[in-house]
Amino acid sequence: MSSLQVSVYRYNPETDSAPYMQEFQIDTQGRDLMVLNVLTMIKDQDSSLAFRRSCREGVCGSDGMNMNGKNGLACITALSEVVKDNKLVLRPLPGLPVMRDLVVDMGLFYKQYERMQPYLQNDTAAPAIERLQSPEERDKLDGLYECILCACCSTSCPSFWWNPDKFVGPAGLLQAYRFLADSRDNATQARLAELEDPFSLFRCRGIMNCVSVCPKGLNPTRAIGKIREMLLSNAT
């Protein structure tokens, strides 16, 4: 059987009073395509479908969406990984406002990222050459800097769904730790002070949805635990 039944979330706020699911039959000719290929084939049938995509190889982070209930990047998710009973259900990332079809408003997500001041801060005099790091210091950034901000993790996190204005979310917290762990950054105290309240970091309940969906195999829960350790050793 090569015809795949695809159910796609549709919503155009200018013409639809409510979102609805639209059914498509896609002939995959038995190939194990990526979900993004299927979306392109659907777009050939109905050009009004809106979704984001750019690099189609898991680098740009544009096509994060919910595929058969699990967040991921459509371009690097093979049908064989997600399709059950020859059915594929595609929805926008949960918890963020839908602008149209599979396109969500990432404003809150970026706002939390910006709040973490994701850039090196160092108030000591700049040396004549670069600020050097030992290989060991550089190793601490592995598993942190690779984030592509696709929002798959934060939008799979119930704590982020309920308090997206106050809880930074796994993506933002991974980046917070990326700069806390950097030997060249010395804004550590200010960064920790920003995270000490009951919402920004501590609303994480460690359910690890973020780890389970991250298309880059990163571990925000571990980074959150490390920040908690830093806060604790700072305050006891």
Binding site: W162, E196, D197, P198, S200, F202, R228, T236
Partner: protein, 115 residues
């Protein structure tokens, strides 16, 4: 900067630490009670009230009650700020919870040291 005035420790870090430490106290207390019941299969009222007549057991029990009160407040405060989006409903819920915790705590002290 996220502000808050109704959580227990005024800081996420202290709430988190209180939650972990109180959980540990409650676990030890529960294990002790279960073990005590297992070692006294024919438990009667005299033995049971004799246990609670000793000062160390009263201190241990009061510690467990206070841990329970703190644990419940941190947990229920968190739930209320997750799910109750209407300020009036959230504040009302928090008021009822804190009143209940206060009543149960005072009542617990009375049970331990009264009669």
């Amino acid at each position: 900067m996220v502000t808050n005035i109704t959580n227990l420790g005024r800081s996420g870090l202290s709430d988190w630490l209180i939650q972990r430490v109180s959980a540990l106290v409650l676990a030890v207390y529960a294990l002790f009670l279960v073990a005590y019941l297992l070692f006294h299969p024919n438990l009667d009222y005299v033995t049971w009230s004799g246990l609670f007549a000793q000062t160390w057991m009263r201190i241990f029990s009061l510690l467990a009650f206070i841990s329970m009160a703190a644990h419940a407040w941190v947990g229920l405060w968190t739930i209320s700020t997750d799910y109750l989006k209407h300020t009036g409903a959230r504040f009302g819920f928090q008021a009822v919870v804190i009143l209940a915790i206060f009543v149960f705590l005072v009542w617990g002290v009375q049970v331990l040291w009264g009669a």
